[in-house]
């Protein structure tokens, strides 16, 4: 596989419509509509205590992804009520068209005391073409269970072979690593299925083998079917040192499957890597792969987890 990088296509720190935010356009996820490609992302503001809150916004591109034709007026879904799983932010936000509605699986954040955060997957629905979404309820649709004790999130849903399939991540441990001041987390990619989009049956296993080491963190699976195979792109990093050390930061990984059960990791085939001296020189993360016409695109974040926006690549072979 070979991806041709087309450069950064959106920077929230210089776009006038997003002045009230403090940067970040994380985990871009595309919704291909008839006359535009809408890209949702998580953008940050500060709360009263000076801590980040991630809100969901979007920019609309023309179908060739060369110019921005509209931007969101407001956040498409507010944050959760006091004490709920998505009170302190939504990141990421994954849209999918189902019937007449646009569904989105959210990753809700709520802050903890002994560790930084807990996350769960929520479901929100739009009946107005994706401008505004409403929650199904105040609680999550997928969350921790006996063998997936915390940090369920990054859900990505598609309908294949009579079932809704969800790829998501779950935490395997929180730990004080010797080199770090605060606890760090380890998370892996998993899979669940559903007949109704709401009630999910977890496969309850890690589906992508670890490559770096046992504590490799795997995030944001995105799956697309083409060429008689299911292709998964995701990002992965070391559990520690990933913020500052370029060689320990996120890279994009790749796996394929023919049966949606067995996945074969083949990072050598991914065809995209960091570009020295560029906006994505230090890390590549949060990929979202989609088809528009006969082209297959990837939107993704670069340095500093997307603080300065996201870029685009197109599949060449």
């Amino acid at each position: 596989m070979q991806w041709k990088k087309l450069g950064k296509i959106f920077d929230p720190t210089i776009h006038p419509a997003f002045k009230r935010f403090v940067g970040y356009a994380q985990s871009p996820q595309a919704l291909v509509l008839s006359d535009r490609i809408r890209i949702y992302f998580s953008i940050r503001e500060l709360d009263k205590m000076g801590k980040f809150l991630s809100q969901i916004s979007f920019v609309d591109f023309d179908l060739t992804l060369t110019s921005i034709i509209a931007t969101a007026e407001t956040s498409v879904i507010g944050l959760g009520e006091l004490g709920t799983f998505d009170e302190h932010g939504i990141f990421p936000f994954s849209p999918v068209i189902i019937g007449d509605a646009i569904y989105a699986y959210t990753c809700g954040w709520s802050r903890r005391v002994s560790v930084a955060v807990e996350t769960s997957t929520g479901l929100v629905i739009s009946k107005d073409g994706g401008l505004n979404f409403e929650r199904l309820g105040t609680g999550p649709v997928l969350t921790s269970t006996l063998d997936e004790p915390f940090l369920v999130g990054d859900s990505f849903v598609r309908f294949y072979n009579g079932f809704f399939h969800m790829w998501y991540i779950f935490g395997t441990k929180w730990d004080y690593f010797p080199s770090e001041d605060a606890p760090d987390r380890v998370y892996k990619i998993a899979h669940a299925t559903s007949k109704d989009r709401i009630n999910w049956i977890k496969e309850s296993r890690q589906i992508i083998e670890s490559k770096l080491n046992e504590d490799e963190c795997q995030a944001l699976p995105t799956v697309l079917y083409f060429g008689n195979k299911y292709h998964m792109f995701f990002c992965y990093r070391y559990a520690t040192g990933f913020r500052k050390k370029m060689e320990r930061g996120y890279r994009i990984g790749y796996a394929f499957s023919t049966d949606l059960i067995n996945w074969f990791r083949q990072d050598d085939e991914v065809g995209i890597d960091v570009s020295p001296g560029n906006w994505d020189a230090d890390m590549l993360c949060y990929p979202n792969v989609f088809q528009c016409g006969d082209k297959i695109y990837m939107v993704y974040n670069g340095n500093e987890f997307g603080k300065y926006g996201f870029g685009l690549a197109v599949l060449e072979e």
Binding site: L82, V141, S144, D147, E148, P149
Partner: protein, 319 residues
């Protein structure tokens, strides 16, 4: 109306010595019957930490079956350690409900974690014992009953039962947090789920017991017993705010059902209330009702929700 004769306080945590994990509180009694004694599980706390915060453990005391006021044995250790870093039960295991399942004993318990915007969250954990309930092993490091769309937080107060080969879990689920001028208080209601295997649960997804005091009435400890062709539920309920004294504090309520699923609240029948004076003069809560040697008993908490232990009442007649 039922008629309960109060027999007095039966176990007080202040009596325990040499157990740093058992300094204050003995909450939410749950009974397991043995040939010579009854084992009463309860939840307790070491002293508060430097910030005035508590963790909670669950353990047990064995009472002479022939004389329930005689302590035969007090556990040396909690039945479960606290959960690992970042897990749902890192800061407490309270309350606990046990059930003898063949050779083994299963326990369902509330696991506590600490949050930033609200003081805590609770999830329901599961553990098993192969030594008659002295020590338990977690079934997993996460909760057994997940939060769902209409049960967003505070899943707690589990009561595990098995009727006609089907597992029943009665529990509470949080509905909302009241802001309360920066001191958030939760509102929770009684719910239920059923399971074929005790691990995978189907939630009924509705409140079982209508509210009586106010819209935000809090309900807890849904203790269900089958007797004389009916299912009986004893629970406790209180106002959502200002509940730490006599006025707004817990009272014991009652409901009955023919099928375990549809319940009729009938508090007038409960037959137990606060006393004029003494250890249960301000509130009564966390009832647990059981039959033993032809009699029906209730264990329950008194003032300050079990700070001074739990007491016993005996039913005059039958349920």
């Amino acid at each position: 109306m039922l008629k309960w004769n109060k027999l007095g306080i039966i176990f007080s945590p202040q009596e325990a010595v040499g157990r740093d994990w058992l300094q204050e509180f003995a909450q939410a009694p749950s009974v397991l019957i043995f040939p010579e004694f009854i084992r009463v599980y309860f939840s307790c706390r070491p002293g508060a930490d430097g910030n005035g915060q508590y963790v909670s453990y669950s353990s047990f005391v064995d009472l002479n079956r022939k004389n329930l006021f005689e302590i035969v044995k007090l556990a040396e250790q909690p039945i479960l350690s606290l959960g690992g870093l970042g897990t749902f039960d890192e800061f407490g295991t309270y309350p606990v409900s046990v059930y003898r399942d063949g050779e083994n004993v299963v326990a369902y318990y509330g696991g506590w974690t600490r949050c930033e915007s609200v003081p805590f969250n609770v999830g329901v954990g599961m553990a098993r014992s192969i030594d008659s309930g002295v020590t338990f092993e977690r079934a997993g490091s996460g909760p057994v009953l997940p939060y769902t769309v209409n049960e967003p937080f505070i899943l707690s107060g589990p009561k595990i039962r098995k009727f006609n080969d089907l597992w029943f879990l009665y529990y509470i689920a949080g509905k909302k947090w009241i802001h309360n001028n920066g001191k958030p208080e939760p509102v929770y209601r009684i719910r239920m789920a059923t399971s074929q295997d005790g691990t995978n649960w189907n939630k009924l997804d509705k409140d079982l017991i209508p509210t009586k005091l106010e819209e935000d009435e809090c309900q807890a400890s849904p203790d269900v017993i089958y007797a004389n062709g009916k299912y009986h539920m004893f629970f406790c309920y209180r106002y959502s705010l200002n509940y730490r004294g006599k006025e707004g504090g817990y009272r014991v309520g009652y409901a009955y059902s023919d099928d375990c699923f549809n319940w009729t609240r009938d508090d007038k029948k409960v037959g137990i209330d606060i006393s004029d004076s003494g250890w249960d003069s301000e509130m009564i809560s966390y009832p647990h009702v059981f039959e033993l040697d032809g009699s029906t008993y209730m264990m329950y908490l008194g003032n300050q929700v079990g700070r001074f232990g739990f007491g016993l009442a005996k039913l005059d007649g039958v349920l």
